[in-house]
Amino acid sequence: MAEASSKQPARERPLSPHLQIYRPQINMVMSIFHRITGAALYVGSLLLAWWLVAAATGPQYFDFVNGLFATWPGMIVLVGFSWALIHHMLGGLRHFVWDTGSGLDIASVDLLSWSTIVLSLLLTAGLWLYIASERGWLSAWQ
């Protein structure tokens, strides 16, 4: 074996068709979303640590950090963070269902995958509506 590989240069092996050729399906999109949101939350854990450290440091620094979070870019990051968290959690629930061996027929897979994205958007909207009403942001429209 070792001899054969040293004599013949490795030839490009044919690859089975994958991402470039498959029509996107909801389950594969949700699968990669699960990984992307997981990686985003990995970085996002810094936000939680930062907020806690800011609170532990003192009023001045805490106000400064809260001020940053309250800017438009800050809010976009926070909304994105909360969506990633909710989406990743729903994706995890879906995996718990699959771990039991049920819900693996195509109809259930499609339903569970669509539920993940739809519910994650609804729950994120609900969370921010709650925060907005708590903080009185909605009074401007009333």
Binding site: A39, A56, G58, G92
Partner: protein
Amino acid sequence: MITPLKRVRGLGSAKKGPDHFVRQRLTAAANLVLVPFAVGLIATLAGADLATIKATIGQPVVAIALIVLILSMAVHMRIGMQIIVEDYVHAEGVKLLLLLANTFFSAGVAAIAIFAVLKLSFGA
């Protein structure tokens, strides 16, 4: 599967195969309870002054829940990132460095966050 012959010779799996699989789900189950708690807590505390936040996070139940969440989160994200690295990084040296960095990052974030919770609980 362990055949009788393998058992006699003491061969077979290392019995550590499902370790990450199980731990990832164990921490996921913990996070399933603790993350909604933390999100609710932070959503309620948003805009509150520091004294209120200190008083809330300083309560034993809240502080303990946050510390357990941070630990569970750190274990979960370390395993998750390790899987991502092992899937996409094939150069042995780079992979080792990234896995090392992954452990340090997860442990570091956890240590910092836990310290902050403790300081909010016990600090002046």
